[in-house]
Symmetry: C2
Subunit: 217 residues, 2 copies
Amino acid sequence: MKKDVDKVIIPKPAIVRLSTLYVLLENLEQEGKTKIFSAEIGKLLGVPSHTIRKDISFLRQAGTGNGYEISILKNIIAEYLGFNKYKKACIVGMGRLGNVITTKNGFYSNQYAVIAGFDNNPEKLKSTRTDMDLYPMAKLKEVIERENIKIGIITVPQDSARKVAHDLIDCGIKGIINFSPVLIEINRDDVFIRNIFIAGEFNILSAFISQYEKNKL
Amino acid sequence: MKKDVDKVIIPKPAIVRLSTLYVLLENLEQEGKTKIFSAEIGKLLGVPSHTIRKDISFLRQAGTGNGYEISILKNIIAEYLGFNKYKKACIVGMGRLGNVITTKNGFYSNQYAVIAGFDNNPEKLKSTRTDMDLYPMAKLKEVIERENIKIGIITVPQDSARKVAHDLIDCGIKGIINFSPVLIEINRDDVFIRNIFIAGEFNILSAFISQYEKNKL
């Protein structure tokens, strides 16, 4: 098994879908469900069931006709995808959003830990938080290297977001979650970015609703 | 032109990509760029350039060999996709995240307005905010119907998120942005949901980084 896990390369869109599937399986497990069919998964995730079966087949798993065992599938996804392999994260921008996101209330999984926060403004570093250490930006490289942090979160204003992204990459960060309202593009194979666009979500919903209304005409 | 806009049905994944493209074009315009090629777009968005050309072709636009005119393409996307058609939104859960998200600092586009906030806790309704009205949950239906609101945002804790989603739908909401850490599935053709999973983003990045490391072996 170990050997397989090491060899399998899964396309990025499948990784994203399997990651969502993992959250769904966690939810279902909490609700006491033990088995699920690909057709149900497809319906719940809004993805064709053959896509789901194909995604799961990358994990060397096949449906049995009795559906998938939820706890097993969940663990296999985590193992093949390498969840929790890079558990430590840092955040740049300790304003209100930065503080909300790093508060342990379920916004990020218990399997990860945002252990360091950075800000340019000394006022923002005067916190009574005991769950993470706060530093001025000048300490970025030192802390990231010392703690071997691979994931960085950006919650700074729009005008400094790109610079912060490049600073993080220079310090060895390999994965970035960007909450600033600017699309950050990374032209490197070894660094990954997820842009969380709240404004974009409004546009997508407005488009979906419009399309539905059009279809009805 | 008007007739075309009304007829064209665009697949959902293309809508999502075109919505991201719109944000990219806005960014590029602010930086003073006027033209762009599909290959550049593809690189910036991490999508194959033929997919970009296909997406844009739904808008009855073809590249000219000289690339796309950014301002024109941006306006056409907004027009065909029906951005800003449903401008009013409400939010349920006026805790810290709800307050941060609805603060006009670029998290949502200026073209949309979160005009009403709801919470069960009377303490959370004691706000000095002048940019939105706050109401107890009992007013949900009355306010949504009166204001003809179609988009709802969920920022309540995990255990009440599903109930809130169904309440919103019962009140006539057609699009939901869910920030609670539970995956909400909607089994209806006429209602759309976007689940924003911060925990999932950590998993995705951890998986991308792991795959890259594996590939190198």
